[in-house]
């Protein structure tokens, strides 16, 4: 139920994000989700792509520091109360969220989560009948 997410270390300077996406573009990689976490000097670009292994290899070939991290994806109506409920389920079990981001399509929202214990989180979400997506389902959204 986990989804491989690509993390790329990038310096906070102009043009760097462009270079990453151009490298992926040349390999016809498709992107489902993208977010950037930044500090004043560096950032981490997080991507969910069509072929994460291939994307990792091509970026490594261009000297980027890349890693694959597993994340969880949940689909829910795009109302705040659903996001809140999801977070409550996790916090009630003392599962902490390292980061989360989301996007919506129509009235449906896809929430991406990275927890300190993904397995526990999946278990808790399933028990509470939250709808999880696997990688291929996520791509069909």
């Amino acid at each position: 139920m986990v989804i491989p997410q690509l993390s790329v270390f990038i310096e906070n300077r102009s043009g760097r994000l462009t270079e990453v996406l151009e490298v992926l573009g040349r390999e016809d990689i498709k992107i489902t989700a993208l977010t950037v976490a930044d500090t004043s000097e560096f950032g981490i670009l997080r991507l969910i792509v069509s072929d994460s292994e291939k994307a990792k290899e091509v970026l490594k070939g261009q000297s980027f520091t890349v890693n694959i991290t597993n994340v969880i994806s949940v689909i829910a109506p795009n109302e705040a109360k659903h996001y809140a409920r999801l977070l409550r389920i996790l916090s009630d079990r003392d599962i902490s969220i390292e980061y989360t981001y989301a996007f919506a399509r129509g009235s449906k929202a896809v929430i991406i989560l990275r927890c300190n214990n993904n397995e526990e989180a999946i278990k808790a979400l399933k028990e509470n009948e939250m709808e999880l997506l696997n990688a291929s389902e996520l791509f069909k959204i």
């Binding site: 993390s7 270390f9 990038i10 310096e11 500090t39 000097e41 981490i44 000297s63 520091t65 890693n67």
Partner: protein
């Protein structure tokens, strides 16, 4: 302007040469018989004390380097029993081990004498209040100025470095007339005075004695304008004695070397040949009177040139130009000696990063800044900002502990820093000297 020791400072140069020759022979003899290192080195060169008949024979003797001091850490080059040593100072070294220097009672007297000359060169006297804002401690700056100040009978204020608000308070309340610190700190103080809306006419500063780091003429003019003082350049290094090796006089046309105690040569750092007067090259010192740690042909790595032309002030002591460059990779950051290899040693001990680094030295608001760029190792790169920040702090703390210097660590992308088996570019110095 008064001269502290006219007998020596204005001595006829031919008479001076006789003094230097006699003192050199004594130094060589003492070093040969009391320091195995010097004896072995001279024997290997087929030399003995009898080989040195005057200062003209000095060029035959082997050089001494910082590495030699390190190899004999801590007291191996001392020429007297430890019972004769009354003071120990130390400066930072490349391998984490400091360079250690020892003084006999007589050495302390010599040091006070040359510092008295230095302060007199700057026009100070018994009616002055000398604010010593050099660090007190293992660093020679604070105590060197302190003893010289007492020797000339001035009122010494041993405030030591840092704590700018206290510096300003004492400067105003005590009416300090002489300021002794690094030139960059002098500029920093000047700006702090402005920020605190202290009118320069409310303080009594008249002159500054500034050293321990290279500084330009432009910086001098800035200090002189902002503090409304005369800024005097002083030179010294702890291995030779500390501050007091050389000082500018009020003419500000080069630094008079106290060459009756410290004999200077200029060599080509590549061929090691002695260069004629006036040539730019590496400054080498032989101590002529030191007992605790005599040094024979010690390579300072500082680049300068000498002139024995008579100075307007009347002193005959040879003058050296302001030192602005070095023949090795040592950096001086906020008065602290720093070799890139020190940084490398710290980084090599950390598995999370690659031993590729770049030092960026700059001067912001007149204070030196040191940035260390390091590459994150891929194996360690997970995707958490907090983890990267923690790593950055860990590197920063290790470096600060080891270098005794504030550092800003920046994590950079891999292979951004140059790789090379031979001479990688490890330093970018943006300061303009």
């Amino acid at each position: 302007m008064e001269i502290w020791n006219g007998h020596f400072e204005c001595m006829d140069r031919l008479d001076l040469k006789k003094v230097q020759s006699e003192r050199l022979m004594e130094t060589v003899e003492r070093s040969y018989f009391n320091v195995p290192y010097y004896r072995h080195k001279m024997q290997a060169a087929g030399l003995g004390p009898e080989s040195i008949g005057s200062i003209d024979d000095l060029h035959r003797l082997p050089f001494t380097t910082k590495q030699d001091l390190r190899d004999n850490y801590p007291f191996g080059l001392f020429a007297v029993p430890m019972s004769e040593i009354v003071r120990i100072h130390a400066s930072s070294g490349t391998t984490g081990k400091p360079t250690v220097v020892g003084y006999t009672r007589h050495d302390i007297a010599t040091w006070s004498e040359v510092m008295a000359r230095t302060l007199k060169c700057a026009g100070a006297g018994r009616n002055d209040f000398i604010q010593v804002a050099y660090g007190y401690g293992l660093f020679t700056g604070g105590l060197g100025l302190h003893y010289g100040g007492e020797k000339i009978g001035a009122s010494v204020i041993p405030v030591s470095g840092g704590n700018t608000s206290r510096q300003i308070q004492l400067m105003c309340d005590f009416g300090s007339t002489v300021l002794a610190c690094t030139p960059s700190y002098a500029l920093y103080l000047a700006e702090a005075l402005q920020e605190n809306q202290v009118d320069p006419s409310d303080i009594k500063l008249r002159v500054g004695v500034f050293g321990a780091e290279p500084w330009t003429e432009k910086m001098r003019r800035e200090i002189e304008t902002k503090l409304r003082i005369k800024a005097i350049d002083i030179y010294g290094l702890s291995e030779v004695i500390g501050p007091g090796v050389a000082s500018e006089c009020m003419a500000q046309e080069g630094l008079h070397i106290n060459e009756d105690h410290f004999y200077p040569e200029i060599i080509d750092p590549d061929t090691l040949q002695v260069l004629p007067e006036g040539s730019m090259g590496e400054l080498v010192f032989t101590t002529l009177t030191k007992e605790g740690l005599p040094l024979i042909r010690y390579r300072t790595r500082d680049l300068t040139r000498l002139t024995s032309e008579r100075c307007r002030c009347g002193r005959t002591m040879i003058r050296m130009e302001k030192c602005l460059g070095r023949s090795d990779d040592m950096l001086i950051v906020r008065g602290v000696n720093l070799f890139p290899s020190q940084v490398e040693n710290v980084l090599l001990e950390m598995s999370e990063i690659k031993p590729h680094y770049l030092l960026v030295v700059d001067r912001v608001n007149n204070l030196d800044t040191l940035e260390v760029q390091v590459e994150v190792d891929e194996a360690f790169f997970l995707d958490k900002i907090s983890q990267l920040e923690a790593l950055r702090m860990k590197i920063q703390e290790s470096l600060e502990t080891s270098l005794a210097l504030g550092v800003k660590v920046t994590l950079v992308e891999p292979k951004k820093l140059e790789r090379s088996e031979t001479k990688a570019k490890r330093v970018i110095d943006k300061r303009r000297f």
